[in-house]
């Protein structure tokens, strides 16, 4: 039982780290803009589809992924400048701004349906999910380990960016008090746009790793990512390490239904 517990914990943490990426993006936007971004999953899916389109043109994986990051960021920044700012200038309500994110989410979903595919598609990935490493009695696939390490490094990088750089300081100042930050000469609009771009990049990072464990990706992945929405409130919306650990923990129950299924009804657990 202990081995199974460890096994599920590690693979759950690996999967949870993907959620971390998307959740960090949601928290970043919420903290800086006070807008709950319902399109985070859609932006991540759009970026992942862009990567897949480039892979179809026989580009290197790293090149495609890098391009996907910029596609995701570009969508988010364009949304901020072309949609959110004009709406804010016209005194859009808080709920109205949330609805705008829903609107862009619907547009992305529709475009993926039209130009992507309704059918699930395989996503080529350089790390194998069949090659495994044994740590005692616990078996970890190369993919799980790679996902966990990569996302951990990305999260730590994000943490250092926010906490230890001047840019991060400007981001924190903008999120704490917009007017005071403007008074102090911080280009708040650019900082907020950067927050949107960075958040979308984090989402795309998670998105690029996501398809492989499922062996497919299609437009409904955005719904899958959207399940991240409850996470920021559960994890608290300020402490980065807290979010990271909590989201990793969140992945743990994703694995547990299989165990529960053996002895109990899976009904309640499928909610996860």
């Amino acid at each position: 039982m202990m081995e199974k517990f460890l096994q599920y914990t590690i693979s759950g943490m690996s999967q949870g780290s993907l959620y971390t990426m998307v959740a960090l993006g949601i928290v970043l936007i919420y903290r800086s803009n006070r807008v709950l971004n319902f399109a985070q999953g859609d932006m991540a899916t759009a970026g992942t589809f862009a990567a897949m389109a480039l892979l179809g043109m026989n580009l290197y994986f790293w090149m495609s992924s890098l391009f996907a990051l910029f596609v995701g960021a570009a969508i988010a920044v364009l949304f901020y400048f072309c949609v959110l700012i004009p709406a804010q200038r016209r005194d859009a309500t808080h709920l109205g701004q949330i609805m705008l994110t829903l609107g862009i989410g619907l547009i992305i979903q529709g475009l993926i349906l039209r130009f992507g595919s309704v059918e699930p598609q395989t996503f080529p990935f350089p790390i194998s999910d069949t090659k495994v490493y044994e740590f005692g009695n616990v078996v970890v696939s190369q993919l799980s380990l790679g996902t966990l390490i990569f996302n951990l490094v990305a999260s730590i990088g994000f943490y250092l960016l926010v906490q230890k750089t001047k840019l991060g300081l400007a981001m924190r100042a903008t999120s704490e008090n917009l007017q005071a930050a403007q008074t102090l000469g911080i280009p708040t609009r650019r900082i907020l746009a950067l927050s949107w771009g960075l958040a979308a990049m984090l989402g795309v990072l998670g998105g690029c790793f996501w398809p492989r464990p499922c062996c497919w990706i299609h437009f409904l992945c955005s719904n899958r990512f959207s399940r991240d929405l409850p996470r920021p409130s559960w994890e608290g919306s300020t402490a980065c390490p807290g979010r990271l650990s909590a989201a990793c923990f969140w992945g743990w129950p994703n694995r547990w239904p299989a165990v529960i299924f053996l002895s109990h009804s899976r009904t309640l657990w499928r909610f996860w």
Partner: protein
């Protein structure tokens, strides 16, 4: 816009003679719809009437009380399946519809309890969790939802020799009008003013003697009651229910209707309901692009008219009233 000289005058539903004429013309046009519209259009009008009830409730909660709720699909499902089960046991449909509203209202009170402590996005997420939980429970418990086969619901029998769809249209139109009147009454009453006070500043409202616990829970209960009744009438119109009809998209439709129609505007709720029903219908030839069209409409309306369609109509009326002096 209007000079109101007494409280009695403020309570009047329609104040100006011209407004009365307009309202009479619109009600007459609605009642005569079966004479000049095809059965399919009557079906759409019936859907709009049913959907308007739920959107009115949602507007009471979001627009008037300022409480964000993302769990409307859950209340809708609860109302619809309550109606389905009760009608299956032979209970007359008016009682089924009432029970659908009441059961949804009970759940509304339960979900409203967190609203006493939570605000804004946090409340939105809690209510969203409720919507997801109801959907998952229905999907996984065939006893409640009929499983993959779904559940057949007794449809309305034709009334007074009319066709089935015309009977459904008139019935739902009358119920919708009753709910509109009820909403106007709620908004004009102490309760409505308490809701608005909570929305504007809950601490100030409490200081002035508004019982926050009671009125917040009441807002949730009334809103859920509306949505529950809508669910029941919807089930009766379709004659069939399954869990997949009550997904997250259904909640989005409610929100879109409220925002696009206009927050805290009763006529806006009806416009919003019409928008949500008609846009997918008009663009049904480009089925894949319906979400895109929907999203573009949401963005354009929210950018260029944050007060929604009702706000735009209000501005147009104001313009013509003052024309040619602006």
């Amino acid at each position: 816009m209007d000079l109101i000289e007494s409280y009695r005058e403020e309570l009047k539903l329609v104040r100006k003679p011209w407004s009365k004429a307009w309202v009479a013309v619109m009600i007459a046009a609605a009642l005569l719809m079966p004479l000049y519209l095809s059965p399919h259009m009557i079906y759409l009008a019936t859907l709009i009437a049913i959907f308007s009830i739920g959107v009115l409730g949602q507007n009471l909660l979001i627009g008037y009380t300022g409480q964000i709720s993302f769990g409307q699909a859950g209340f809708l499902a609860i109302g619809a399946f309550t109606f389905g089960h009760l009608s299956g046991w032979g209970v007359p449909w008016p009682l089924c519809a009432l029970a659908a509203g009441l059961v949804a209202a009970v759940f509304g009170i339960l979900i409203g309890i967190p609203s006493l402590r939570l605000k804004g996005p946090y409340l939105a997420i809690v209510t969203m969790g409720f919507g997801v939980a109801v959907y998952q429970i229905l999907v996984n418990v065939p006893l409640l939802s009929g499983g993959r086969m779904g559940m057949t619901v007794a449809r309305l029998e034709p009334l007074f020799g009319m066709t089935r769809i015309n009977s459904a249209f008139y019935l739902n139109l009358i119920i919708c009008l009753l709910f509109i009147l009820l909403t106007y009454n709620i908004v004009s009453s102490y309760m409505g003013r308490a809701f608005i006070a909570i929305r504007d500043n809950d601490i100030a409202a409490e200081v002035l003697g508004v019982n926050l616990t009671r009125y917040k829970l009441m807002a949730f209960a009334i809103s859920s009651f509306y949505v529950g009744v809508q669910g029941g009438l919807y089930a009766q119109l379709l004659g069939y229910l399954e869990a997949n009809m009550f997904t997250w998209m259904e909640t989005i439709a409610f929100l879109v209707a409220v925002i696009v129609g206009g927050l805290a505007m009763i006529n806006g709720s009806i416009m919003g309901a019409a928008f949500v029903i008609l846009v997918p219908h008009i663009f049904s030839a480009y089925k894949e692009l319906v979400p895109v069209v929907f999203g573009i409409f949401i963005i354009v309306i929210l950018i260029f008219e944050p007060q929604g369609l009702a706000g735009r109509i209000f501005k147009i009326r104001l313009y013509f009233r003052n024309w040619p002096f602006r």
